[in-house]
């Protein structure tokens, strides 16, 4: 069986239809869209078309609300830095403990510069407390930045409702929607969301292209100043081939939206049910009622994630883990810590994320090998004894330094 790719929240394969529309922009229409000659005359049109394709997917009111950037991270940074530059008297930012590092590390940096960062905690299912959020909204807050869906667990936050609340309090609202766009339907014109980040490579477009949605009328300060590109809101020569590719990818995502939420979800559901039924001492993390259709994050207790990934990889299966070792850090994923998942489980979390390219027979293949992998590693684990965990694992094995 060919290798099985279940790491689509990390990145996706570029759809071949996307590649096809991109090629001419390398070979024939390679001109600078700002130029006045035939090498460029189709480029501006191509970009305009892509802008409307993105607009359709996210339900923006105007195509001029779409600003092309280089990646999701650039969109995130632009949004937050714009909000604080435009409102220099407001010194507070509201975000969550489970955001992507693109937000968290920027906020940590701003904290050193004197900003107060409110990081909303989550409960054991990864859910926010909206009452606590409401209390933090004030005229001191420059911006709220809350992800639409979590990259590790797939948990969806009520960003539409939260944007309404921010709007009532007169606070700008940004959402990092790189995992949500293309997987769940959205109609931004009916919301109070001011800014939204998209990353092309999460929805079968290439790496190196992103979008910042900027609601018309939102006060804005560019991060990159220079030429007139993107109406002066993001200077720099357009990445025309990738922009056109992203447009096509958005069109396809809209076409496959129903497939994503029915067939892809069915594969995800079968995988997680199969695993939980067959393997003792494992559980699904996040808000099970409110998740992206393609994502499942399963904690395998008493074994470590990188070891699981290496054995999966040997079996030709690609997934990812929230363990410390996979990233070379000392702590397991901040998302797992925020949900208070015990260390013995947090280090053993494996995320399987699907796309429309996966098949049910791939699910069956994973279900065939996963029980053996868990059993093999548990045999090596000091927290495991025969057929179950040692009694009181945290007490029974107490290493000298902890």
């Amino acid at each position: 069986m060919p290798d099985i790719y279940l790491d689509n929240n990390a990145t996706t394969k570029v759809d071949s239809a996307v590649v096809d529309v991109m090629i001419p922009y390398f070979t024939e229409q390679f001109g600078n869209p700002s130029s006045i000659h035939k090498f460029a005359d189709g480029v501006a049109r191509g970009i305009k078309h892509a802008r409307s394709q993105v607009q359709q997917l996210i339900g923006a009111e105007h195509d001029s609300e779409i600003i092309f950037t280089s990646c999701g991270t650039e969109s995130d940074s632009t949004a937050i830095l714009s909000a604080i530059k435009a409102q220099p008297n407001k010194k507070e930012i509201i975000t969550t403990m489970v955001e992507h590092p693109a937000i968290l590390n920027l906020c940590e940096h701003l904290e050193k510069e004197g900003y107060t960062i409110h990081r909303l905690p989550v409960d054991k299912c990864g859910r926010l407390n909206l009452e606590a959020y409401k209390k933090l909204l004030s005229d001191q807050v420059a911006i709220v930045s809350v992800m639409w869906a979590n990259n590790e667990t797939g948990t969806i936050f009520p960003v539409v409702e939260m944007a309404e609340m921010a709007n009532e309090a007169g606070v700008m609202f940004h959402t990092d929607a790189v995992q949500a766009v293309g997987k769940i339907p959205m109609m931004l014109k009916d919301t109070k969301i001011d800014m939204l980040s998209i990353s092309g490579h999460k929805l079968h477009a290439p790496k190196g292209i992103g979008v910042l949605y900027l609601r018309r009328g939102t006060r804005y300060r560019p991060m990159l100043r220079g030429g007139h590109q993107e109406r002066g809101r993001r200077a720099g020569t357009e990445n025309s081939a990738s922009i056109v590719g992203l447009g096509k990818a958005c069109e396809l995502a809209l076409e496959f939206m129903e497939y994503e939420n029915i067939q892809v979800k069915a594969m995800r559901d079968r995988l997680e049910q199969g695993i939980v039924e067959q393997i003792p001492h494992c559980f699904i993390t996040g808000d099970l009622e409110n998740r992206l259709p393609n994502t499942t994050d399963i904690a395998f207790e008493y074994i470590e994630g990188e070891s699981i990934l290496m054995l999966l990889n040997k079996a030709g299966i690609a997934a990812s883990s929230g363990s410390a070792c996979t990233s070379g850090s000392l702590e397991p994923s901040h998302v797992m810590r925020a949900m208070q998942i015990p260390y013995t489980a947090a280090h053993g979390t494996i995320r399987f994320s699907f796309s429309r390219y996966n098949t049910m027979s791939e699910v069956d293949e994973v279900l065939k090998v996963m029980p053996g992998i868990a059993a093999t590693l548990r045999k090596l684990s000091p927290y495991w004894d025969g057929n179950g965990p040692v009694a009181n694992p945290e007490q029974a094995f107490q290493p000298v330094y902890a």
């Binding site: 008493y302 990188e306 090596l380 000091p382 945290e394 107490q398 290493p399 902890a402």
Partner: protein
């Protein structure tokens, strides 16, 4: 994915001596579940000769933690306790053909489990003397706790001071912001403020680093390659130093290394070892990528 050597992979996929030894009389348990690794080492020691007759491990951890545990049990079986105590974490890493800098702590955990087990056998109490922090300098594998301790102990004030005392930041320089953050924090606690332009502190006691002359550099590189040669030759390969230009060493991988898929990894390993020994940043590049030398005749035709 990590650049694991074939030996790491082999010990991970086919671990030796997994499980607890029945009737063990020496048990060492170390690790930290918050960091995601923990190791229980069980030994059966002959009470007359103090020879380790059996060794077994149980490990919760990543690929290199399991591989380090496995290779440790192989190394120490048949050794006396005194000889086993001489096994260093570098020995463990070397036996695995090296570990990525982020993973060196796995070999440290192996050595500590061994010390803990011997202490347990002898009825002593083993105390860990080492706290581990986030990895800051990837070129020389120096963590935050080590840097912070040195900053406190030697009243260091600048990144240059830190590099002189710990080597951290002396390679690719990407970690200088992180080092400055540590300095800022510690200096604040000390009631001073961080000034990037402060003069370096006087008389560094630990390591005064003079830049190497090119001749010294070449001699040292040759010595390091000589020390690595037996390993390469055991795999049917060899390495030859072709040229050194500033801090780039051009090498030829010969014998079985030539064209081997693993050559890139071996080169990375050689580079790591060179940086450790020379204490400066060295780039190792296959000689095939060396800029072509131009003779005077050719140049005059150009």
């Amino acid at each position: 994915m990590w650049d694991y050597s074939e030996k790491v992979k082999d010990h991970f996929f086919n671990p030796k001596n997994a499980g607890a030894v029945a009737g063990a009389n020496a048990i060492g348990e170390v690790g930290s579940i918050s960091c995601g690794d923990a190791l229980r080492l069980t030994l059966k020691v002959n009470e007359d000769t103090e020879v380790i007759e059996e060794a077994g491990f149980q490990t919760f951890g990543c690929g290199s933690a399991i591989a380090s545990s496995s290779v440790l049990t192989e190394i120490i079986k048949g050794m006396t306790l005194d000889d086993a105590l001489k096994v260093s974490n570098q020995d463990i890493a070397q036996e695995l053909d090296g570990l990525p800098p982020e993973k060196m702590h796995c070999s440290v955990m192996g050595r500590e489990a061994l010390q803990a087990a011997v202490a347990n056998y002898r009825g002593e109490e083993w105390k860990d003397d080492h706290e581990e922090g986030a990895l800051i300098c990837k070129c020389f594998a120096i963590d935050a706790v080590m840097i912070e301790e040195m900053v406190w102990a030697n009243k260091l004030r600048t990144v240059e001071d830190v590099t002189n005392f710990t080597k951290a930041g002396g390679g690719c320089a990407a970690c200088h912001e992180d080092i400055e953050n540590i300095l800022e924090r510690v200096l604040k606690e000390r009631g001073e403020s961080f000034n990037p332009d402060a003069a370096p502190i006087e008389t560094p006691v630990v390591a005064e680093k003079k830049p190497l002359t090119n001749l010294q550099r070449i001699k040292k590189i040759e010595a390091v390659l000589d020390s690595l040669r037996p390993q390469l030759m055991a795999d049917g390969g060899d390495v030859e130093l072709v040229e050194v230009v500033e801090n780039t060493a051009y090498v030829n991988m010969t014998g079985a290394c030539n064209g081997c898929q693993m050559a890139a990894m071996t080169i990375a390993g050689i580079q790591q070892r060179l940086m450790e020994v020379l204490g400066e940043f060295i780039k190792v590049v296959p000689a095939s990528q060396m800029p072509k030398l131009v003779t005077i005749q050719e140049a005059s035709h150009a």
